[in-house]
Structure formats: C-alpha cells, structure tokens
C-alpha cells in the first residue's frame, strides 16, 4: 500500500482528522523533511520506545512499554533475532512513521503530543487489521510493520522486569500448586 493511499485511508477512518491536521502545524522555523534511514540503529531506540508506549502505555501503578525499555528490546530483536524480511519490515515502518509524521504534522514522531502519536498508530493498527482480513480471505497480502511492532511490544513488555513484576503476579518461588481458587476481582494474570 502506498503512503498516499494510507492518508486517504486514515482520512476515511478518522473522519475530519486529516482536514484539521493543518491546525496542528507549528509556525516558525522551517521543518526539515526526514531522510529515510538505511538500517535500524541504536539511535532509533527512543523512537521504538515511543511507538511501543503508544501501543501499550502505562496505567495507574503499572508502568508502560517505554518505562520497560521495550525499545531496547525491539532493537535487540532487530540485531540478533529477526530474519531479513522482518528486519526490512521494521526498517520500512520507521521510515514510514517519520515520513507520515512530517507530512501530517511537520514534526518528528517523538516530539508529537500523545494524541497525535496515537492518531498515527491507530491508523497503522487499522491498516494492519485490514491486511489481516485480506490475508484471512486468502488474498495475497504483505505483512504490515504494525503487526510486527505490536507483537514485539507485547513480547518485550511482558518479558521485561516491569512487565513481569508489575503487570503480572510475580511469584518466582510459589512453593506449591493450588488447582482451584476463587479469582479475585481485578486480579492480574499469573506471570
């Protein structure tokens, strides 16, 4: 899918948002269009952290994906774990996010306010969902970078110290196993 198509799609899904986008524009110094990167580097960790945090933000006493350094995890996965096609997907996704942030908001993604970050991510989410529907219908469909980011965010967050201890019941030495107990209201899942 081309970027222009995405903008149309995002416009149709988030009615009116694109037409109001110019209101977000900041006047002042002339913003510089982003240069597409050729590889993902450690410098992208803050951006990956921001993406992860938009996907899985903190809630009350539970810190979110950025606090759990999920961006570092994603970069480790890029460096040591992902196969070439997924590495390319991660790279292209970052370039796309930079380009979209600039085109819509004349800004880099990291400097955007929370709702603008969410606006962009939500559209990628919808796009990826549409890809998934297409794929389920048996149509030839590319993988979407958002699906990769989402899955890395979840696996990274829930294997982090914060995710394991704050978002789950953390009990490294349970002692025993009790098969059937009442689930207390609001109880978190076992880690």
């Amino acid at each position: 899918m081309k970027r222009k198509d995405f903008l149309r799609l995002s416009g149709s899904l988030a009615v009116g948002t694109v037409t109001t986008a110019p209101a977000f524009l900041v006047s002042g110094c002339e913003p510089v269009p982003p240069v597409p990167r050729e590889t993902v580097t450690e410098k992208d960790v803050p951006l990956l952290n921001d993406i992860a945090d938009a996907i899985l933000p903190g809630k009350d006493e539970v810190p979110g994906a950025k606090a759990a350094k999920t961006g570092e995890y994603m970069f480790m996965m890029y460096s040591d774990m992902l196969k070439e096609d997924d590495k390319e997907l991660m790279l292209n996704g970052l370039n796309r996010i930079d380009a979209d942030a600039f085109e819509l908001f004349k800004s880099d993604f990291g400097s955007l306010e929370k709702e603008k970050k969410e606006f962009l991510l939500k559209n990628y989410h919808n796009e990826a969902f549409a890809y998934g529907q297409q794929k389920a219908a048996g149509l030839p469909t590319d993988d979407h970078f958002y699906s990769l980011y989402r899955s890395l965010t979840l696996s990274g967050y829930f294997s982090s110290e914060i995710g394991s201890t704050k978002a789950r019941i953390y009990n490294p030495v349970p002692g025993g196993f009790t098969g059937c107990i009442p689930l207390k209201p609001g109880q978190k899942p076992l880690g």
Binding site: A54, I55, L56, P57, G58, K59, V62, G64, Y73, M76, D80, M81, L82, K83, E118, L121, K122, H125, F129, R150, L154, S155, G156, F158, S159, S160, E161, S164, A167, R168, N171, P172, V173, P174, G175, G176, F177, T178, G179, C180, I181, P182, L183, Q187, K188, P189, L190
Partner: protein, 565 residues
Amino acid sequence: MNINGADKKANTYDAIVIGSGISGGWAAKELCEKGLKTLVLERGRNLEHVIDYKTANTPIWDFPHRNKIPLEMRKENPIISRCYAFREATEDLFVKDAVHPYVQEKPFDWIKGYQVGGKSLMWARHTQRWSDLDFEANAKEGIAVDWPIRYKDLEPWYSYVEKFAGISGNRDGLEQIPDGEFLPPMDMNCLETHFKGELKKKFPDRDLVISRTANLTEGKKGRGPCQHRNLCKRGCPLGGYFSSNSATLPAARETGNLELKTHAVVHSILIDPVTSKATGVRVVDAITKEIREYYAKIVFLNAATLNSTLVLMNSISERYPEGLGNDSGVLGENLMDHNYNARVQGDWVGFEDKYYEGKRPTSTYLPRFRNYKGDKQKDYLRGFAYSCGGFRTAGTPEQRFLMGDALMDNLLQVGPWKWNMLGMGECLPYKENKVTLSKDQKDAWGMPLLQIDAQYRENELNMQKDMVNAAMEMLDTLGFKNVRDMGERRNFGLNIHEMGTARMGRDPKTSVLNGNNQVWGTPNLFVTDGACMTSSACQNPSLTYMALTARAVDFAVKELNKQNL
C-alpha cells in the same frame, strides 16, 4: 596400545558404566551400593548438582535475549532449535548440531546431552508404568519379537525405583498404567476436574488423571520438595525433581565406590577372544584424543539409545565381525520414537471466577483407550495417550482489536480458559527403521558417523489421524468451543524417545539382548537404556529404563557372586 601391568591394574574396576544419564546413573548407584568399585565414563563435561545450574534463578529479563535463542545460533543449529526445551537458559545442555554430526537418510532430529547427568537434567519427567497391554502386544499381534519379560518381572523394580526417585501421582486404579509407589499427587485445576468427570460420563472407557511425575511433592533426603517454579530444565538447585545429578550419582558417590571420568568417549568394548566376554572398554579422550583402556568384570552400556548401538557396532572383533552382539544381524534395526503429531485446542466458556496458584511442573494425562478392552480399531494397531491441560490466558481475544489504554486494560485481566491436548502415539518396531555406520565419514573422535533411516509408516499415520479426530470429538462432545487442530508436526526423533536398535528378546537369532539385558554371547555386558526396547508403548519410557536397569544390576551382581559371569 602398550599398557604395562601397573597401568592395567590402576585402570581395572569391578564394573564400568558407560554414560551417566538416567539409566547410567541408576546402574552406577546400584553397582556401588552392592559394593562394586565402579567407573562411570561420561563423554561430556562435569556438571555439579546445584553449583553448575547457572541459570536456575535467572529471571527472564536478565537473559540477553529474554531466554530465546538468537538467529545466528538457530541457523547454526537447525536440529536442536526444533526442540521445545532448547532455550537461552538451557542451551549449554544440548549438543550443538556441528559437534556430533550424523547422516539423515530421512529427516531425523537427534537430540543429545553430553554432560554428567545427560538428558536427565532436561527430561519432561512423566513416569507412567507400562503394563502387560504393552509387554504382550508383540506376541499377541505377531509383530517383531516377543518381549522376554512381563509386567510381573518388572513390577517390583518399578516400585523399587519409584520409592527412591520420588514419583508424585494419584492411585487411579487403571490397568493400562498400573499404580505405583506415589508421593502425593499434584492438583488438577477446576477445568481439569470438570473435564475428568464429564469425560467419564460421556466416554466411560476414558479417564483423565494427573500425570505421574518425577517431581517431589514431599522432600526426600537432601532433595526437594518441589517449589513449583516449573524451571526444571535448567537444573533444580532444590533438587525438586529426579535427575542423575540430584539423586543417583550422589547416592553412588556416598558409598565410596564411585569413580567418575568425564570427557571419556567410549570407542569400543573390548572382548576376550577366547571367552568372548567383555574385558573392558577403549576410550578416546574428548579433548586430547588420547586413547585409554579400562577393564572390569562387568560392563553396563548406558550411552543413550543411538550411542549405545553405535558403540556396539563399532566394537568389531574376530568374534563379532558385524558388531558386538550382532550374531542375529538385527543390531541397528527397529528404531522407534513416539509420534506426537497431534495437537488439538479448544476454548471453554465458564469457570470465569476460578483460577489457580503456582506453576505446576506437569500436566494431566489421558491414558490409552484405543485397541483396549472393548475398543477395536480397523486401520491401526496399539494406541496413544494424551498430555492435557486447562489454563487461563492473559487478556481476552478482543485484545487484537485494541491499542493503547484499552489494550493495556485488556492484558491486565485474566482471560478465558483454554484446553490443550497433545497426542502421544505408539510406534511399531520395523526392521526398515534402522541405523547403520558410515563407511567413509568419521566424527571428531574417530567414530564412524551414524546413518539414520527411519520414518513414520502406515500404522503410525493412521493412528495420527485418529489422535487428532478423537481429541476433537471429545472436546466437541464436552462442550468446548472453537475446537481446532493445531497442526503439530515433528520429525522422527524429536520426541526424544528414540528407542530400540539393540532389542531384548527370547531368541539369540532375532534379538541382541536376553531377558536380563545381557548381550547374547557376551553375558557380562548389559545394555539397559532405550536401545534395549522391544516395542515402544505410548508411555514416556524413562521410568521403564530405570526399572530395567535396577533389575539388571541385581541380576548381574548375583551372577557375578555365583561366578557365572
């Protein structure tokens, strides 16, 4: 080789045990406790109980790759990377693919553990007994050869090893998996208890039990109790499960009769040309490649199925030109594994207000019901069991629509119940499923490469269809939703229950070992690991190896004392 008399004396023991894994550890313990000076030869490195379990307490976030195997290592090790237990926490317990190559005539995943304790460190610890349903099957159906023993021969030895090893389980009164000497069983969860009751109502020939498991629900001398961390495969610093390292080797050491040599790759077994008895073993030092010989009155070969057969095949003498104990020509034939290519899942609506606590290091078990009692299948022999379990997910299925705050909210909730069933099917012994030695390729220790040529055949594939269908039928009937075939596919070997190739039998013309695990023609050489198996049943085999080993040692020492060996 030029060994002077003093060296020979220094290298002479009452007994030699080749291998320190689950059966070698038992041979060592039993021989030492019966007063024999015993040398245990282990081809891998030493691995001390507790102190060498380097990752036993490492939380997932402290692993550089969060306990996953990096791409580079996966590329270099496609075989072991297919094993569920090969993780960052356990990677140094698995033999890397390049270290010990073999020839795959057909896809075969050979998973090996070269260290003191062998694979007893990473095993899955399910320990159901076999019954006469299994021991009589070959004879009744005219398959392969008859087992030379029956359940009554092994029953006291099952009890003997269970009492020492520590097997948790419930006395369920089922003939196909006889009750044993159990420690208290682990709990079933609410869905499992419900499943058990409904299953019996809708399918009266079927039962769900808690798997008999070698985890200590009560402490034993210096071991356990199990703390339900479910990190067993990393080695347990609490000794909460049975391994050679935690249980049999310490018991052997305590007698003062044990000597353990590591980095000792057994090249061959030495034979007296006059008596054709085993006199000792020839060993290649894994590091220096130096060759040494050790001598003993009796030898126990427990190198794990395929390596035991490799040693026999490589022990060429005038007496045994085709491999030690191979007068019959069947050495290397009848390689079996189990067939686990049947995984079915379903969703359960209900018990939303019920949960569980702790990490149970085992599952429930649905024992064999096919070709048993009233059941008769048209297109296959034998049967299968299932490893089963109910569990609750984190988050609900709606999470895939969500992002941001709503996603976090969802994932902080305890999700619905799911049910998982993994079929575990018996494989028949076939002459055509075999191993041979390469004529031209050798490994780093100068041993010929093993050529493995084995596959699932019609009986296994017909049974596999039924393993999937029967699971789906049960889940549908019991009211599960979204019942699905997960398409489990594993190569032959990957269930790590490779067995056979030096089978026990009643006739030296058609088997390698007799009913006491003695090699036909060389009665002071015993093979009591998986190589000795005449059929595979569908139960996990290690408990049976333990019982066979303890029984064979008892016999060996009695014979030795009668000067019959």
